[in-house]
Symmetry: C2
Subunit: 291 residues, 2 copies
């Protein structure tokens, strides 16, 4: 009986394979082999370098070459040479290619929407999907420098504030927290890092420059769907290495004892508890690390 964990995963695999098979079938409905459709999709509205497509789809150079030509013959793409390096080529969608691309997008989106519409608890379904996608994609999580006012950064920060509000007995009001000047978390004074798991903002951390002889780590957050994957550690390590390259030798941070995982992490990463160094209302634990 399929009660053991491995059987449950395999049942999941079967269900999902069937689903993707159906989608592939509907892709064929546009009169083009799947290989060509995949290349069109990989190029995307922004265009893409040919070598990049090859790496992404893991195709043989000859095969990709022919697929690109077939799309070109259909009038869906243009392939031009790279100005900097004339060996390289770059594929972009023509207006007609854009339309075709959107048609494929619509097929995928409609299917996703249909699944959503007929589920009684869409938010639960989406949370489950986020969790699984993060578990499967943990090796593909990338950490990127991001402006603190960019959409993914704002998403992370708002999730972070919402979580603090839920976990602090006294609640949390971002307006009451210490003012944070975004310029302090932009180069050259600091940096704001966002972790993207297959495009989903899944964590963040800010390195905030000060004029007091140290920099601060702020706003460390990891999405529930990505917890336990070692992402907090990666974010901290990246932030520290940014600090090092900026010539900072002392880092400080504050946190709250209502977030025991956080304090534990800082200790494991070699931070030392120090005395209160600011008068923010929310933190009650203070750490320092020399890098």
């Amino acid at each position: 009986m399929p009660l053991n964990p491995v059987s449950r995963i395999r049942r999941f695999n079967r269900a999902v394979t069937t689903e993707t098979g159906v989608l592939d079938q509907s892709f064929l409905g546009r009169g083009r082999p799947l290989g060509a459709a995949r290349v069109l999709n990989a190029i995307g509205p922004a265009g893409r370098a040919v070598s990049d497509i090859r790496a992404f789809l893991d195709l043989d150079t000859g095969l990709l070459s022919r697929l690109l030509r077939s799309l070109e013959d259909e009038g869906l793409i243009d392939v031009t040479e790279d100005r900097k390096d004339k060996r390289r080529r770059f594929a972009v969608l023509t207006p007609e290619g854009h339309r075709e691309y959107e048609a494929y997008e619509a097929l995928s989106n409609d299917r996703a929407q249909a699944l959503l519409d007929r589920h009684p608890h869409p938010e639960q379904l989406l949370a489950a999907m986020d969790l699984i996608a993060s578990a499967l994609g943990r090796d593909r999580i990338e950490i990127v420098e991001s402006d603190p006012h960019s959409a993914p950064a704002i998403h992370c920060l708002e999730s972070y504030y919402a979580e603090l509000a839920a976990r602090f007995a006294m609640g949390f009001d971002p307006a009451k927290a210490a003012r944070l000047d975004s310029d302090d978390m932009r180069p050259p004074r600091g940096v704001f890092l966002v972790a993207l798991s297959d495009g989903l903002p899944s964590g963040c951390v800010g390195l905030k420059g000060t004029d007091k002889g140290y920099a601060e780590i702020k706003r460390l957050w990891v999405a529930p769907s990505a917890r336990g994957l070692g992402l907090a550690k990666r974010l901290m390590t990246e932030a520290e290495s940014h600090a090092r390259t900026m010539g900072v030798t002392t880092l400080r941070l504050d946190t709250n004892s209502a977030l025991p995982e956080a304090a534990g992490l800082y200790q494991r990463l070699g931070w030392n508890e120090i005395d209160r160094f600011n008068d923010d209302p929310y933190p009650d634990l203070f750490f320092e690390k020399r890098v």
Copy 2:
């Protein structure tokens, strides 16, 4: 930014497609095309009728015929004719075929196990997978007659008792509940139905024969991962139709007001509330329906 529901589903699809692609690649590592591997897997240790394989994998008769022969030539399967209907053929694994089958199983199982091992909350991951598999497979949920002592039935019943224990303020002790003779839920006196979603027991209901001029509906349960898919209604409808074919005209059931979804369902399905008709300690609501 991928914060909207459809983008989240598509991110999930990408992650899962990558994962299944990797598994397919590892299947190719055994030196056999995917088609043949799929047929071997579809045959399984118990063997399978050729027509059955064809329907399951949706293959052309000619194609399957050749795939079967290639497996036969490899010495992995035997195809024999059906005794009852000599047009039909039946495929079984040879000892060597069993070994090869197990090798494929091991590839899948190891991957599943690896995913589990490196996840911080395996039970949460599995629950997410169950939920998604049920959502995707809702059209494939089948309701089968099952002995009340069979493994899937026991799984459902134990989950049901655990849930009652959690939801009743006074707890729930199966030993204190009204004795249930399994024979009353076996033909010809009654029936026990289990809902299987891609093999996972996801719901149950019992029709219990009595000598009092009515039959009782007992143990209606739907797994959390399958709720909202209309499964409870399907189970009730099937149980009622079994009652009808058994010549029963009056059905009764008892439930508890701590399970408001249940009472609501019974009302929607045309049941009428009646006075207490037994002295079980747990129920406080009683219903009747004429069929």
